[in-house]
């Protein structure tokens, strides 16, 4: 598949936007007119052609600009990328998984040649060519996880598995919905999920952990998560809260369409073969309200979901301040007609 990459920004003048094709393939997360937490995990098997699920790792029109934004975040704050010493094997596993997937899915853009431990990687969109020895850190300009994650959309955390627990012992996180790798690194599955409201009481995390401990190689799973973001900012981190938190107070009935974004994370979970660790990929998709209302089903469904969302969840996701304004704006596009089952456009 040949992609055309857009020139755009996710900060300052915020020139990000979606092409009509990108709108149609947006992974809209609501399959009905309401929302509640669930263990909504499904096999990460190939989806429809052109969809965000077509390939294991999705690369889209925002790729080049997103990678530029990641480099800026890392330059300003190197602690967004951390790996504890025992995670080196898992880092190589991650590099292998991402390189092989990108090269297989997008042969026009990425190419990987392997001759034993001698690997040759070509990334045409970013103009990178690298020969290196798999397993030898000194042959790459960065450690393996950072090297490949600087060339792949989405955040990544790597979980070591021990004592029947998962431990977030490595990661590279620059497009996050208000969580911090620097804070979470070294925590276990229950610890880093501790702030999530309502879900603990429902036993969601016990069930999810039990499931993940038995995750098998070659059989990744996925789920969608969502929140909303004011301005198309990828780096909504706690570290930079002083830069973006105030944006929530800037939403008015006049600017909802351009300012308020639905933010969806396509989360993948992959058992890594050599390390027995689990890779968690968190790919962020943004869509403006003005773009979303071009799809009739979504413009009906989203205001209904937001209206029935429990207050605790709205607070946790940081929507409280502009939820009513957004619902009011969206409601002018909801004609009250019933919506069909499933997430995609009709």
């Amino acid at each position: 598949m040949t992609l055309t990459f857009k020139e755009e920004t996710f900060r300052d003048d915020f020139t990000f936007s979606n092409s009509p094709k990108a709108i149609r393939r947006f992974p809209f997360p609501f399959h009905e007119d309401k929302y509640m937490y669930s263990v909504n995990i499904e096999p990460h098997t190939p989806g429809a052609q052109g969809s965000a699920f077509e390939f294991p790792i999705d690369i889209d029109e925002h790729y080049v600009s997103e990678m530029r934004d990641r480099a800026l975040v890392l330059e300003a704050d190197p602690r967004r990328c951390q790996a504890l010493p025992h995670m080196m094997t898992a880092q190589w596993d991650t590099l292998e998984l991402l390189m092989t997937s990108m090269a297989e899915s997008y042969p026009e853009h990425f190419r990987l040649t392997r001759d034993g431990a001698h690997w040759h990687w070509i990334n045409r969109p970013l103009g990178i060519e690298q020969k290196f020895t798999f397993g030898d850190v000194s042959t790459l300009p960065y450690e393996p996880m950072e090297y490949i994650a600087r060339q792949c959309q989405g955040d990544f955390s790597i979980q070591d598995q021990r004592d029947n627990q998962l431990w977030m012992d490595a990661g590279i996180v620059t497009t996050q919905a208000d969580w911090s790798l620097d804070f979470d690194v070294g925590m276990n599955f229950f610890e880093w999920h501790a702030p999530v409201p309502l879900a603990h009481e429902k036993g969601v995390f016990e069930r999810a952990l039990k499931f993940l401990l038995n995750l098998q190689c070659g059989r990744p799973v996925r789920r969608l998560n969502w929140t909303m973001t004011v301005n198309p900012r990828l780096d909504t981190s706690p570290e930079n809260y002083h830069k973006w938190g105030i944006d929530r107070a800037s939403v008015t009935p006049e600017n909802v369409g351009n300012k308020v974004h639905l933010r969806v994370e396509l989360q993948g979970l992959w058992r890594l073969p050599r390390s027995n660790a689990i890779l968690f990929s968190i790919r962020c998709y943004l869509i403006k309200m003005s773009e979303l209302v071009t799809v009739p089903k979504w413009r009906r469904r989203l205001p209904r979901v937001l209206r029935t969302l429990p207050d605790e969840i709205a607070d946790y996701k940081g929507l409280t301040r502009y939820r009513a304004t957004t619902i009011d704006w969206l409601s002018q596009y909801d004609d009250g007609a019933p919506t069909s089952l499933g997430c995609g456009p009709d």
Binding site: L213, C217, R219, R274, N276
Partner: protein, 320 residues
Amino acid sequence: MTETFLRRVRVAEIERVASRIKRFRLVDAANDRLPDFSAGSHVTVCMRSPDRLIRNPYSLMGCPSDTSSYQISVLNVDNSRGGSQFMHDQVAVGSELEISSPLNLFPPAKLGRKHILVAGGIGITPFIAMTSDLAAHGCDFELHYGVRSEEEGAYCGLLQTTYGERVKVYYQDKGEFIPLERVLGEQPLGTHMYVCGPKPMIDWALKTAKLEGWPDENLHSEQFSAPLPGKPFEVHLAKSGRTITVSGHQSILEALEQNGVDAPYLCRGGACGQCETAVSSCDGPIQHNDHYLTDAEKAGGKKIMICLSRIEGNSITIDL
């Protein structure tokens, strides 16, 4: 869960490595590269015997970074339910089998300062890959390996040649036994112990470690049990309303599969927890043969691991 995830492999080599143990080297049937695996992993091998499908878990031996082939070792068990006998008598070089993806329920603790490996008999198999992995990472380890006799012990010479002083073999027929109390008593903080072997040995090792004051988090064991035979009984499936008979030599899981019910499973050895099923009612005590449920859960009678456990009564209703 289903057979679409099985990989066809061909037996490339068979070697008798002890009087009752054979080593099998498996290569991909289409000569593809096999998936990488981590030390401590096992695969489930599917054997199509004339009368039924047998699935047994076997630890992957060999060096995890060598994925040109997989190696497993099979002990011909006296009271075999068919699996090990099938491997010994029916499988020859060139035979094709099917295997699952590798699954690791017995990984080395990456943060361990030192590793004490305790093996009994065929329980040596996961430690072949584990010693290779620990040595490759420069980790401090000791292997204490108990065998009945020189004829019955597999890989003793190979391990001693490769790892020298770090490997100690104890021959039961010469009156030698693993001096576990002493071994465990002199280890530095942060040491992990791993034990694999017959159930009495695992129980003994874990109990000894606890008496020596070792924390639970530093103790690891792996045991794949075969389903124990018993009396036949009936299983009622609450969701589908079906009733299926479990014969005396079948597990509940095997009976369900024979009747076309797609029930969840992974290890089929009572270790992984994947086949945990809720019990609605049961007219007799449940024989919990797994290593997964807690004692309280076993006493509660509300859950059963259908790969191993059975009942002493006539019928059980489960949530499937």
